[in-house]
């Protein structure tokens, strides 16, 4: 048994302890926490293993653990950022935590976006609502080595203006000349001073019509959005092999044992969460 495969842990179920160093409100019910490892050894293992796309299990003792992606990029491993919507017992507790409080973390687990394979290509990021965090991890991982990629287009939509997350970063991307940022909100979700698009992501995407040539698309969002966006991408000429997405399922162990997250034969926690659209389409759709 190697230390390495177990992320340096004898007991894979034992979490690291992390401290909340920053807390931001992103949108109604959505919060971002920035966490730092207390134990340098845990941090070292994270540095060693973390690649963008991976997820972790964030928790509070007494409440349990909850799975979400690492929203910070692999180019910044000093801390972990995670963004989540407050819904169940664990996320409510995390949301009620304050700066300085301690939380638990297990990970990073799962596969990753093969960023090396994206070198020299154009990138199209498409995200909906609360699914910007996984995309954001890839976006920054690429932006932090901007020179290795071609054109970068980001299409991001949410239900309403208030539901857009990472507003300050959106502003930053907006102001950068080396990024095309397309923002949209669903019809009826706009505020009086909204300067950007109004419409659903697939429609806005088709209007923006990015070229599929030499382009990798990263698509994250709620299932219904993914479904229709994939249709649009196909219309635009994208091959399913070049479209990456992430899947989420309920998880407990995160390491392929507890039996919850399978979709068909695929263990999301080990073989995912990053898949190409081609891989996803082979899964039994009713199990998603």
């Amino acid at each position: 048994m190697t230390e390495k495969t177990n992320n340096g842990r004898q007991n894979i179920y034992k979490p690291a302890i992390m401290k909340i160093v920053d807390k931001r409100d992103e949108a109604p019910g959505v919060k971002t926490l920035r966490l730092e490892f207390l134990d340098p050894l845990d941090h070292e293992m994270f540095r060693l293993h973390y690649r963008t796309g991976m997820f972790g299990l964030y928790g509070i003792f007494g409440e349990g653990e909850s799975t979400f992606c690492v929203a910070s990029p692999e180019t910044r491993k000093e801390y972990i950022e995670c963004t989540f919507r407050q819904s169940g017992r664990v996320t409510s507790s995390l949301a009620n935590s304050e700066i300085g409080d301690l939380v638990t973390y297990r990970g990073p687990y799962g596969n990753r976006f093969p960023i090396e394979e994206f070198y020299g290509k154009n990138l199209l990021f498409i995200a909906g609502g609360i699914a910007l965090p996984p995309t954001r991890s890839v976006i920054w991982s690429c932006l932090d080595q901007r020179e290795k990629f071609g054109k970068v287009t980001i299409v991001y939509g949410a239900r309403t203006v208030a539901d857009l997350v990472y507003k300050h970063e959106l502003e930053e991307w907006q102001n950068r000349s080396d990024i095309d940022l397309v923002l949209t909100v669903d019809p009826g979700g706009e505020s009086p001073d909204w300067q950007h698009h109004v419409g659903f992501v697939p429609t806005v995407l088709e209007e923006a019509a990015p070229s599929p040539d030499n382009c990798i698309a990263v698509l994250c969002g709620p299932p219904i959005m993914i479904k229709f966006t994939l249709i649009s991408l196909r219309k635009l000429g994208f091959q399913e092999e070049n479209v990456y997405t992430t899947l989420e399922n309920r998880m407990k162990c995160g390491v392929g044992k507890c039996g919850r997250c399978n979709v068909g034969s695929v263990y999301i926690c080990k073989e995912g969460p990053v898949f190409t659209a081609a891989e996803v389409s082979k899964m039994p759709q009713s199990d998603l």
Binding site: N96, S97, E98, D101
Partner: protein, 656 residues
């Protein structure tokens, strides 16, 4: 984790003498989630509260625990302080370390440990408190008074005189109730109708009172401030708008042999009638049961007699819905049927009558114009025996309770008899004389001493007829001897019982009643005019047997409750109410059955195409009083009680 402030009050020496406040403070300091902990001599003082407010503001606290005296003392104080500091007042809990700790324990060590436990567990509770907003309900400023007897009239007048609108509903054709039937009233012997009739007229003419006689309540929905009441206006067959009350129809009606209920069947009336001469409104009704036209399809004499054509045989019952904010129930009483006392011969001997019948005999407007005459032969009785407790205080045959007014009215009857029949002899069999009340005992003394009524302490065992006399056999327990009296008339002081339909009516309006049908007050001592259902109040004998002054007093008390309620546009209530998780509710309706307030409603959950998916419980926030009985019942843990949620209590217990 939360940011909790803990404030430990020394209460001078009251707490500090028995509890090591420094140790308590440091224990709280070490408690996870506590951002600030302070102690102070008197946190309830102005500077103390300022400290609390400052700490809340400076530390952005998410909740506070004040370890001090009982929450019954200062919870309101500290909640107010929270609100002033911008913290929701329901994020405040009080740890009772004075009444339930420092004052009752002498071992300082153990008292301190207990104080630590109590405070800690409340920290855990307050971490899970939710921000709550007082519940606001609008108030419809119109009251419904049910029952047009003296209690109802008094309540209606008091409310109307305070400028609020009232709907006064009476099911008989006229206002008046039982008081209108009485001759004179104790203890002043003033004429009942003389004092009653002006009140009736005042109520009928009051611009703020809408009077609906000959009408009944069909249905009551809603909650305090917002009741919807369906009223049935029974067909009078006489147009109220045009009728002048001339009485020609009454005179001409060929059917004149109907037993007169108002006169307790001692007199007769026609089929079109007003219950009594001073009836308000003075508009007759047709007694459909006994009207020749309704029975045979022929007659219509009254219609022909009417000079302005206001008889309408086609008239139908009408239903009206009214919106009211408060309801006063003043439905009164009935007297108990005395048939179960076969030995007294009521119903068998015409000269054995009830007290109420005696009232009619003694009344100037009664069937004998105030002369005391035997129903059998119209002779003036020379000897009258009054039997008290003919039903009351008799668990085996009658009712367990004391009817309260019989001692007084029997004395009054004895006096009236003495005044009207000179030389007549009144004998009164009594169990005890209960004459508590202003001028009451003096009154009974007068009956005995001045009007020479003979009071015999004992029960009557038998009444029988012999030689034209009613033989009354009883016992005088004071002398320990049997007594036999040859009387000309026997008057039974029958028990007061609830209206025959009292229990069903309680269900209609949604209040509770006791085993007899008397309506339940919210608290016998402290809330005697309120019912458990907020916004519904009780006046008069529908709650328990009462005399006129008590009924009037209670009616005025009701009025003051109603006026108080109407002094606001909106009601604010403690938000301690139940709420239901519709996703997990199975609709078993245990809560519906268990709720003492009928606050649980059945709510349909429809899908997008409008089809019923399931039916779940919905807690009406206006009706819910926050007892939590439903929460405990709910097997799936779907209902919860704000302020005392399952999460809060769980944390409190697990934090101990």
């Amino acid at each position: 984790m939360a940011k909790i402030g803990v404030f430990i009050c020394h209460c001078g020496e009251n707490i500090a003498a028995r509890i090591d406040c420094a140790r308590l403070l440091s224990a709280m300091d070490d408690h996870p989630g506590v951002s600030v902990s302070l102690d102070y001599k008197y946190f309830c003082s102005d500077p103390g509260q300022e400290n609390v407010k400052k700490a809340i503001r400076e530390n952005n606290l998410t909740g506070i625990v004040v370890a001090a005296c009982s929450p019954r003392m200062h919870e309101a104080t500290f909640r107010k302080a929270c609100a002033e500091a911008g913290l929701n007042p329901y994020l405040c809990e009080i740890a009772n370390i004075r009444e339930q700790c420092s004052w009752v324990h002498s071992d300082r060590e153990k008292a301190t440990e207990k104080a630590i436990d109590i405070t800690r567990s409340l920290i855990e509770k307050v971490k899970r408190n939710n921000e709550l907003q007082p519940i606001e309900v609008p108030v419809t400023r119109k009251a419904l008074v049910i029952g047009g007897g003296i209690a109802g009239i008094q309540a209606a007048l008091d409310i109307a005189n305070a400028g609020q609108e009232v709907v006064l509903v009476e099911r008989e054709p006229s206002l008046g109730g039982h008081m209108a039937q009485l001759s004179e009233t104790f203890p002043t012997l003033d004429c009942s109708q003389c004092i009653m009739t002006p009140r009736m007229v005042e109520a009928a003419q009051h611009p703020k009172i809408e009077l609906l006689t000959y009408s009944e309540i069909e249905q009551v929905d809603g909650f305090i401030g917002n009741f919807t009441v369906k009223i049935r206006k029974k067909a009078r067959y006489v147009d109220m708008k045009t009728c002048t009350g001339c009485g020609d129809c009454i005179q001409k009606c060929p059917q004149k042999k109907i037993s007169d209920e108002f006169d307790c069947n001692l007199g007769k009336r026609p089929a079109i009638y007003t219950p009594f001469a001073q009836a308000v409104p003075n508009i007759p009704v047709i007694d459909k049961e006994n009207c020749t036209y309704f029975k045979n399809g022929k007659c219509r004499v009254c219609a022909k007699a009417c000079p302005i054509d206001c008889i309408n045989f086609e008239m139908q019952d009408e239903f009206v819905d009214i919106e009211v904010g408060a309801i006063v129930v003043a439905t009164g009483f009935q007297i108990q049927n005395t048939a179960m006392y076969g030995e007294y011969g009521y119903g068998k001997y015409p000269d054995v009558i009830t007290g109420l019948q005696f009232e009619r005999l003694a009344s100037a407007s009664g069937p004998t114009a105030g002369k005391i005459m035997r129903p059998s032969d119209g002779k003036e009785p020379e000897t009258v025996v009054f039997i008290q407790c003919a039903g009351s205080r008799d668990p085996s045959k009658g009712v367990k309770y004391c009817s309260k007014i019989c001692c007084m009215y029997t004395s009054k009857h004895a006096m009236l008899y003495a005044h009207k029949v000179h030389g007549g002899k009144a004998h009164v069999f009594y169990m005890d004389i209960r004459a508590a009340g202003k001028g009451y005992d003096e009154f009974t003394r007068r009956a005995i001493e001045e009007d020479e009524a003979s009071y015999l302490r004992g029960r009557v065992s038998k009444v029988w007829q012999e030689n034209g006399k009613l033989m009354v056999r009883g016992v005088d327990t004071l002398l320990g001897k049997p007594v036999e009296i040859a009387a000309d008339m026997v008057v039974l002081a029958t028990a007061i019982t609830p209206q025959p339909d009292a229990k069903e009516f309680a269900k209609v309006i949604g209040i509770g009643c006791d085993e007899y049908g008397f309506y339940n007050e919210a608290h016998l001592k402290l809330r005697p005019v309120e019912t458990a259902t907020a916004g519904i109040y009780l006046a008069g004998a529908c709650q328990s047997p009462k005399d006129i002054p008590d009924s009037v007093a209670q009616a005025s008390a009701c009025a003051s409750k109603v006026i108080g309620l109407f002094s606001r546009d909106r009601l604010e209530r403690e938000p301690v109410i139940a709420m239901n998780n519709e996703a997990t509710c199975s609709g078993c309706w245990g809560c519906f059955v268990a709720c003492p307030y009928g606050a649980i409603e059945k709510k349909d959950i429809l899908n997008r195409s409008g089809e019923l998916i399931k039916r779940v419980a919905f807690v009406n926030p206006g009706l819910c009083q926050g007892c939590g009985t439903c929460v405990t019942f709910c097997r799936s843990n779907s209902i919860d009680l704000a302020g005392f949620t399952e999460k809060q209590i769980f944390a409190e217990v697990m934090g101990l």
